[in-house]
Point group: none
Chain length 211, copies 2
DNA sequence: AAAAATATTGAACCGGTGGACAGGGTGGGC
DNA sequence: GCCCACCCTGTCCACCGGTTCAATATTTTT
């Protein structure tokens, strides 16, 4: 049995179309339900970011083993991640097509996880960026640098100023600048900030307008 | 129709039990198949790391729209990520229970993505670590900022200069500086570089010696 | 209504940053 | 020997970034 949780039932029009047999509760039940639902759909509108994780966690605690899907009329990646980390099995738009919702239901019913394509891409990028660590193909590949350039780039990417990097590396500030200039050139970035961004997130596109 | 790709058919014992109707090819077909399969299962044993991504990508290219699942007798997170990034829809153990394989098949057939629970956890951890840190009370929590401060912080953390941020937000450079100063104060960082580091990796300790 | 928080802007100051000129030293390959 | 890549350093200068004086208007909270 499908169970949706939403204080304002009119927000669930799409959901009701997808699951005509589904039932709706206004709030998160505190005690375990007598009849355990097969899935829980939580409408996240009106739940502030800091609370979203807690609400989802509460739901999971009340109905252990039951997949939780969070829906929202204003979804974003950040909230999706909050929900997923709290134990949700999926996150989709509250105004999504009923067919899509049914697909999501099928996937999570089988223990799968539903995330939108953009979020998936982002997650993959984030993780592989960590695993790779100079592993290949990315814009900012530390292995393309000379040892000294790499050392300077590392210091700077930790937040050090030129003077501090010079001190820790035992060279003059001027030399740090020289190495850094070479790094900028090789990576095609204009300053240390973009260097850090490139190093930490190779998939991130520069924000600046390429005029 | 299920289609498995594996040079040594004896490695597919479990898979055959899960999908008795499935067919097997020894190698990745070069031309599109006359009868498009509903799913493609690629056995990754014997494929080196650098090649795995290419093989999967090749499969996806040959059969566009068909979900690809990679199986292996020695699975690890890194290889799973390689496969997923190349466009695979799932990654599971070649010796998994046939019932599990059938579940995976159901999930990916509906456009879902199948990743093991450990990998999922890891991915979530990596992503949320750079978006915020999901836990509250951490150093750089964007929700602690006012909307305007957040907007400025976001622009800057993308690599924008003060001037650029001012332009995109429709305010003067001076106002950007004001908001930014407030952000620095709230997060306890001294400049935009540390802000980016704090936002993208809250666990990283500052490099500078607090003398 | 009073107080606090938020959003906006100005001028001036100074240190950090990056580019534009430089040049000298070392070690390896042709 | 010559060239090249790498490492190190110097000076000058325009620009950017962050802070320190401000001040005013709007919104929210108490």
């Amino acid at each position: 049995m499908m169970l949706a949780i939403c204080p304002r039932a009119e927000l669930l029009a799409r959901w009701r179309k997808a699951f005509p047999e589904g039932r709706v509760l206004a709030t998160i039940p505190r005690a375990p339900l007598t009849v355990a639902p097969s899935q829980l759909w939580l409408h996240a509108d009106g739940i502030a970011d800091p609370d979203l994780g807690r609400r989802v966690a509460a739901l999971v605690a009340v109905c252990p083993g039951v997949p939780v899907v969070v829906i929202s009329t204003a979804p974003n990646q950040y909230r999706a991640l909050l929900a997923l980390e709290a134990g949700a099995s999926g996150f989709c738009h509250a105004l999504a097509a009923p067919e899509l919702m049914q697909q999501v239901a099928t996937v999570v019913a089988h223990g799968g996880l539903w995330v939108g394509p953009e979020l998936m891409k982002r997650m993959l990028g984030a993780v592989t960026a960590r695993l790779d660590q100079g592993g290949g193909g990315s814009v900012a590949d530390l292995s393309r640098l000379t040892p000294r350039e790499r050392a300077v780039a590392t210091e700077v990417s930790r937040g050090a100023t030129n003077k501090e990097a010079a001190r820790t590396l035992g060279i003059t500030e001027r030399t740090v600048k020289a190495h850094l200039a070479a790094v900028f050139e090789k990576f095609g970035v204009r300053d240390r900030l973009e260097l850090v961004i490139a190093l930490r997130d190779p998939l991130a596109a520069p924000a600046r307008s390429v005029a």
